[in-house]
Symmetry: C2
């Protein structure tokens, strides 16, 4: 898409208005999808579009319009001795493929981000949400037509499985594929895609309580990281605690963790400590309880000899998503930030903050746990690539 910054904003504002004007039509289509789904299916809530959720969609489109245009930014400039002007600028990636599941809001969110960044997008939504997605894409197309933009820049693929495979192999037509959904979807895309993909993988997140930590604060951080929203990837999975303070620290998490009936899988030493304070939902940890993403009210605990052992444990079991240390020793804090290899590393804070919106990037498509192109929150600016632009007046190379 070769729309101007202003043109993209106008299109998105028109889209927000059209969403608001078509609430009834959207709900009618959504009901058709809902009717096909079993009432007991946990995906039903993710599929549901209510009036207020549709309003939130329109609002989020307006938010994306407010974000700074990520394209056309000058990243580098050099004038060569021969007068050649070398610059490097950001440009849209080109064609973005998204494979996602039930949530129809992804259709609008991702289309808005792609329009804002000047990319074409191939949407491959779930069969569950087919009627909802068809209406939403129709509304997007109305906004595009109103702004004289070719509607095939936003395409909804048929739900037939064969189109997923075709998309994953279309290296000449698709520049990047982002799977958004369950681990099995992500694994499938990773294993089968010939197009470069962004992995938004699991989060096995540790918080290490170092011996100098403020134990009250440490307990608050650990409990928050576990219970504030346990179903997400930046939630805590394993507590590591220095031996010298384990006896003083662990009883402090009892109340907060028990309030949510968190199942704690504890190594021998921590089990003894938590048992002595009658922690309710306590189990002896087995080796598979470490390096595990709980995605719910569960976590593991391990007592470590010292920082070396903590770093070693993290290096072995981390999925390189979000890792934290709680400590009042500035040197140890810096060492942790320096040596732990993860998308986000923290001192004295809950890992729950790893989020595009929180970090100030606007809406995110996911948290990348890979190292190339994007690491951490994958937001608008990462829907760009670079282009070297060289302006001359007859220069040749000697």
């Amino acid at each position: 898409m070769l729309l101007s910054d202003e043109g993209k904003k106008v299109l998105l504002h028109d889209l927000a208005i059209l969403i608001e004007a078509n609430v009834e039509q959207i709900i009618t289509a959504n009901v058709k999808d809902l009717d096909r789904m079993d009432d007991a299916d946990p995906k039903k809530d993710r599929l549901l579009l209510t009036e207020s959720r549709i309003q939130a969609l329109a609002d989020s489109v307006r938010d994306v319009a407010q974000l700074e245009d990520p394209t056309g930014k000058e990243l580098y400039r050099k004038t060569m001795e021969n007068g050649l002007e070398v610059t490097k600028i950001t440009v849209p990636v080109g064609v973005v493929g998204i494979i996602y599941e039930s949530r129809p809001n992804v259709t609008i969110d991702v289309a808005a981000l792609c329009i804002r960044s000047g990319n074409a997008v191939l949407l491959r939504g779930g069969t569950d949400a087919e009627f909802s997605n068809l209406v939403l894409v129709d509304i997007i197309h109305q906004a595009m037509e109103k702004n004289q933009v070719e509607t095939n820049a936003v395409q909804l693929l048929p739900t037939d499985r064969k189109f997923v495979k075709e998309m994953l192999e279309a290296t000449d037509y698709v520049d990047i594929i982002i799977p958004r959904g369950s681990q099995s979807l992500i694994d499938f895309v990773r294993a089968n895609s010939k197009v470069p993909t962004i992995e938004t993988g699991a989060g096995v997140c540790h918080t290490y309580i170092e011996s100098s930590a403020d134990l009250e604060s440490a307990a608050e951080i650990v409990v928050n990281a576990k219970v504030q929203r346990p179903s997400v990837c930046n939630a805590l999975d394993t507590i590591l605690v220095d031996k010298s303070i384990a006896g003083a620290f662990l009883p402090k998490i009892k109340e907060g963790m028990e309030e949510f009936n968190v199942a704690v899988y504890a190594d021998e030493e921590s089990f003894e400590i938590l048992e002595s304070v009658h922690y309710k939902n306590l189990y002896k940890a087995h080796s598979e309880d470490f390096g595990k993403e709980y995605l719910g009210y569960g976590c593991s605990v391990k007592v470590v000899e010292n920082m070396e052992e903590a770093l070693e444990h993290i290096s072995q079991f981390s999925s390189k998503h979000s890792e934290a240390i709680v400590s009042r020793d500035a040197e140890k804090c810096e060492r942790f930030l320096n040596e732990v290899d993860a998308a986000a590393v923290y001192t004295n804070a809950s890992t729950r903050f790893t989020d595009g919106g929180v970090f100030g990037l606007g809406a995110e498509i996911g948290i990348s746990t890979q190292k190339l192109h994007a690491r951490g929150p994958f937001a608008l600016e990462k829907l760009t690539t670079e282009k070297w632009v060289v302006r001359g007046n007859g220069q040749i190379r000697n």
Copy 2:
């Protein structure tokens, strides 16, 4: 590697000195490799290490030491309302795998770049260069030992083919793989690697002579882009010329092209024009002569109706490496820069300038023709990834 900026520089200077001190030993090993190779083999020259080439290697290590440390750069900073300090910095990618062929100089060049950027590197050189590579890596290890750096941060893999396959599948241990060599090597890596790779693909490069062009300058640019070093990826492959000036322009390239006996594969109209001036090495173009990387003294020519046709041709046949327009119409120049999708786009200059050194980036590992992570010259700074570093004093998420 957790060396300081200064520590890395010192290590590289020690390496340069050790290379100079071991010229004889290097040459002895290199002779063993050369002796195994047939005299007629064109790879023999690439394998050869002379005293002056070894000196050049030491010099290039010193050049890399002079480059700015690409790690630890702050890319983003935000202090949240709750006092949380969010920053994003550059860090080493981690473990870099390089698969390359005969040239033993790659061993030193790549090891130096990886040391400078704090990465560990797995070198998988060609069987041809085995003795040379063993000595060179031994010298690198001496420099590392002198600086108390673990030598396994630079490893030469055995030449057994099975190690290539293992490396391509080692997603838990290798963060990025860069193939450096022939197209067949690159294709093999692309097809088989589960580790993210950087494609340094072919260059099918066009230069479009627009009707307003200064024809003398255009001829000079085109000839330079073709003959200055035709074996490389940024050399010209196809000339597109506006119909209205084709008759005036094409005769101007005759002398320069004939000097190097360039074989010209011309479409019907350009064939007539070049035939009328008795161009010597002239052929009628077939469809396969367009979209072809010549890598030698050959090119194709096509007369186009106008800029639209030129853009369409480029969009269809470009490998998205380097593309140029020659024109005095500023608006058309900007349109070309804007609309052509390639790693490097030029106005009024030879495409031969696409090069890390020329662009001011220092030594390059190759020219990336893909869009993620790195596009264009792949140099030192792209051996980094990002890390979100978040400093708190007890913050939790509400």
